[in-house]
């Protein structure tokens, strides 16, 4: 239960985002609310799409879950639900779009809660189940991937903020999210190389950062200075 290297991977997955959040927000104003709200929205997006994820399995059976069509469908669902809920949240809840700190806090909370529930709790579960065969190096790629995912969620949250000015950016976000999810699954499935898959995810996240910079240049004059 107190296997230090394994706890270290959980730390790698969760602590950088938490420290970055504390650094940018200093817990001032409503940033903590935005952070928790991000986690809540991720959770709602997950629960909302679960029936649609299960539906093809009920109709076509368990074997369909590894079908390329099904993998594309679930990736699209993730992009569609998560980005639309993020858009709704930023559009409807005023304090979330107050400034860059708040939008970033939403994205960081989104990624952090996802990392905690999908990675942290699963690794703890493995510890309880005494899966001693799992080593630090086997768990490390997942921990790094969570960091890439948190960066992705933070950047996408800002892009979604800009989507308030141009709805095309909402569709772009859905597309980027879908491509990221689908490419990660497919590359892992066909190469069976975890490190290669993580490298591709990292490159993709860098690509998303570049897209953000292009969007920023285009919209910086349109968006009020005191916002972003």
């Amino acid at each position: 239960m107190f296997d230090l290297p394994i706890w270290f991977t959980i730390t790698i997955a969760l602590i950088p985002a938490l420290f970055f959040f504390l650094y940018i927000s200093r817990l001032k104003e409503n940033t903590l609310l935005a952070f928790i709200l991000g986690g809540g929205c991720w959770f709602i997006a997950l629960i909302a799409r679960l029936p649609l994820i299960q539906l093809p399995i009920i109709f076509y059976g368990e074997n369909f879950s590894s079908n390329l069509l099904y993998l594309s469908y679930t990736s699209l669902l993730a992009g569609f639900f998560e980005e639309n809920i993020r858009y709704f949240c930023i559009k409807k809840i005023h304090f979330v779009r107050k400034d860059l700190k708040h939008v970033l806090s939403l994205g960081l909370g989104w990624g952090f809660i996802e990392a905690f529930l999908l990675y942290g709790l699963n690794v703890i579960a493995l510890l309880i189940l005494n899966m001693e065969s799992l080593t630090f190096m086997q768990l490390l790629p997942g921990a790094l991937e969570r960091n890439f995912a948190i960066i992705f969620h933070s950047i996408i949250s800002i892009i979604i903020y800009y989507a308030l000015f141009s709805k095309a950016l909402l569709f772009l976000s859905i597309l980027l999210h879908t491509i990221l999810n689908l490419s990660a699954i497919l590359i892992l499935l066909y190469t069976e190389n975890v490190w290669f898959t993580e490298a591709i995810i990292f490159i993709f996240v860098i690509f998303v950062v570049f897209i953000y910079l292009i969007i920023y240049r285009k919209f910086q004059n349109q968006v009020s200075k005191n916002l972003l």
Binding site: N30, L32, I36, L37, H94, F95, L117, L121, I124, A125
Partner: protein, 157 residues
């Protein structure tokens, strides 16, 4: 119209208590119903599993309260924001009535309707969840309503 931000703030604080209470009650329920839960787990899983059912139960006992606590905070914030949004439409002239009314509605939706899925684990499990859900939601609702009134009174008019 109410104040969504104040509602979310009051919701987070109430949600911490809601989550803590839920976590404790979840742990107690799982511990007391160990035999029944193990029976349910073993009926759902294949018999040739390399891990013992006891271990899976141990895992559930550890993880369920953590998840309950987190959902309490997150759900608390979202419900608090909704409370702030519909504040003026909630019947009642004081915080106690408003809080009680809101919590009964939340309990009915979350425990009575959405909890119907628990019926597959037996009527006993469903009934216990209904009762515990009622206690935690009322505590949450009254606390939320009390904090909302307190925070809103501090805003200069």
């Amino acid at each position: 119209m109410g104040n969504v931000t104040i509602g979310a703030k009051a919701g987070v604080i109430s949600g911490i208590f809601y989550g803590l209470l839920s976590a404790i009650l979840t742990y107690i329920t799982l511990s007391f119903m160990k035999e029944q839960i193990i029976g349910i787990i073993s009926s759902l899983l294949p018999s040739n599993l390399p891990i013992s059912i006891e271990k899976i139960f141990e895992m559930a006992l550890f993880i369920s309260p953590i998840v309950s606590f987190l959902i309490g905070i997150i759900g608390g914030l979202i419900l608090g924001a909704i409370y702030g949004w519909i504040y003026e439409k909630i019947p009642g002239k004081n915080f106690l009535i408003k809080g009680l009314f809101f919590s009964i509605i939340v309990w009915f939706i979350l425990s009575v309707i959405l909890g119907l899925g628990n019926l597959q684990y037996g009527i006993m499990y469903y009934s216990i969840n209904l009762l515990l859900g009622l206690i935690t939601t009322i505590v949450y609702g009254i606390l939320l309503s009390f904090l909302y009134e307190k925070f809103i009174s501090k805003i200069p008019k």
